[in-house]
Amino acid sequence: MRELTYAQAINEALRLLLETDDRVMLIGQGVTSPWYVGTTTAGLIERFGNRRVIDPPVSENGITGVAIGAALAGSRSILVFPRMDFMYLAMDQIANHAANWHAMFGGEYCVPLTIWGIINRGGEQAAQHSQALQAIFAHIPGLKVVMPSNGYDAKGLLISSVRDGNPVVFIDDRWLYNLRCVVPEGLYQVPIGKGAVLREGKDVSVITSSYTVHEVLKAADECRGKGISVEVVDLRTIKPLDSELILGSVRKTGRVVIVDGGWKAFGVSGEIAARIAETPLIRELKAPICRLSLPDAPAPASTALEDVYYPRKEQIAATIQRLLEA
């Protein structure tokens, strides 16, 4: 079976989408830059030209409007933000326009727009180059939010996002870009709204997504050595959330740890906790719901501080063990 890096899987998805659907257009800062988007857009401009692969000026809000307008006029727009922190500049077009358009005009138009945002945390990049904003976008009605954890899902979810016909926020973590996995050739879809159980277990469910999945898998290995059987649930899609999968797993294990790469306050982990607490399942839990996420503070620069800011496998494993002892 053929293995690709995560970045190569994205690159292949983009190439196949551009190749097979002439409505597809890729626009965003740095698609022709040697460093901005990693290797994900390599070779695309040479192959498809500067009318379908467009490197625009730094005008995030304006260019998001452009991508929406092109989508309304028949494009399948893929709009990339190489650092998703800059999506804040485009909030008006994303939240007021793309998200509302379909409902606000009575369903007359759809906005087939994939907004691809990349989390750049680590490397002492500090508070404006590190943010994971999934909760912000998941809060807005009219947007879907996906967050793959591996190249197979990234390729399949990117294809699903572009074919969806509605605005989808597709979030990558740069820490995933060099990870390898088996990726089939050709076009295939991973359904939006469906999570996956990556590892079955019976003592505790750990619900997570994106890069954090890999820290959780390592923590699960560590726990196994101590006789704890961990079930790992990869959300893959943040919105619509696969509640059924989450509740099924928690019903089985009776314990849950939610590990999110975003902030805790008013975020994704809180939403998942609430989904569980809203059902009778809450009375059957053997331990309180436990959340691990980023502290309520802007990302620091210093590596010394980054090391404690992001949840790592040691912290996750210790949390799981404490929960089992409770």
Binding site: V66, G69, N96, G106, E108
Partner: protein
């Protein structure tokens, strides 16, 4: 360029349709029949009419909170517009948009935004798509002088000019952004000069002279159809009614009765009517017949809106609209 009698009459009829529709809405708002916030177009009819007269159904128009005039000028159905203003399920946006969010897929009006300058980059994006698919379709962004204070305006102008996109920027300078006179909001209130800085062919014209708007618009649209790039037209005009609703805002101290009277004396419809009669293209009798016919059509639109049902209120129906 000589404009045919037929075209002149068409411009006259469109302006009257907008005027009479808006004045009826003003009346219905005053009576409490209509509650959605209505930003009326009365006084500005020549702008939408003059520009849209050279557009086809497959050309795009993007509008603002003051949207009724653009919808009517683009050929939209008065019944669906009135029903939307009544927020009924038969409205053009099925009662989900109200006065500020109207649409017509069939007539090429993908939507109107209440966020100032919001649709300017979107119009540029539609032009990007049009330029990619070939053909000679164009996109038009209508916006007010207030939009010139927003960042989206500058980003959109720069990108359109950079990529030479088939888009026409039509600034309706009605001298006020909500309550604020244009001199208090723009360091340089000569707006077309700002557009010139982006290397756009730009001009300022009398936006109450429908013939001037028509000719200027036609030249800009032709230029876009020939893929020679975007243009910018600043139309000097004036809204008779207040920023929102049927009042005149004179009592609130925003403007003087004298200023309002001066602009009402420059009524674009009266001016064209006078010219048509002088040229014997139209008689007084024919003019009043046109008005009566439009009034009857508006009566029909109001009756249709009133008897239409409200949108279904169950939650499933609301969710269905979110993700088709």
């Amino acid at each position: 360029m000589d404009v045919s009698a037929e075209t002149l009459i068409k411009l006259y009829v469109t302006m009257q349709r907008i005027r009479l529709f808006e004045e009826r809405v003003a009346d219905l708002v005053s009576k409490g029949e209509i509650t959605t916030p209505c930003h009326l177009y009365t006084g500005q009819e020549a702008v939408a009419t003059g520009i849209c007269a050279s557009l086809r159904n497959d050309d795009y128009v993007f509008s603002t909170h003051r949207s009724h005039g653009h919808y009517i000028a683009k050929g939209g159905d008065l019944r669906k517009l009135m029903a939307e203003i009544y927020c009924k399920s038969t409205g053009c946006s099925k009662g989900r948009g109200g006065s500020m969010h109207i649409t017509s897929a069939e007539k090429g009006l993908p939507g109107s935004s209440a966020i100032v300058a919001g649709t300017i980059p979107i119009a540029v994006g539609a032009a990007l798509r049009l330029s990619a698919v070939g053909g000679d379709g164009v996109s038009v962004a209508f916006f007010g002088d207030g939009a010139v204070c927003e960042g989206a305006f500058y980003e959109a102008l720069n990108f359109a000019s950079l990529k030479k996109l088939p888009v026409i920027f039509v600034c309706e300078n009605n001298l006020f952004s909500t309550h604020m006179p244009v001199e208090d909001s723009l360091a340089n209130p000569i707006i077309y000069k700002i557009a010139e800085a982006f290397k756009l062919p730009s001009c300022r014209i009398d936006g109450n002279d429908v013939l001037k708007v028509y000719k200027t618009g036609q030249a800009a649209i032709e230029r876009a159809r020939k893929r020679k790039g975007p243009s910018f037209i600043e139309c000097m005009t004036y809204r008779w009614r207040g920023h929102v609703g049927p009042n005149y805002d004179v009592d609130k101290g925003i403007r003087t009765q004298k200023e309002l009277d001066r602009w009402m004396a420059k009524d674009p419809i009266k001016a064209l009517e006078k010219m048509l009669i002088a040229k014997r293209f139209l008689t007084n009798g024919e003019a009043s017949k046109i008005v009566t016919g439009i009034e009857r059509e508006i009566d029909g639109a109001v009756a249709f809106a009133k008897k239409s049902p409200y949108p279904p209120s169950d939650e499933m129906e609301i969710i269905r609209y979110l993700f088709r």
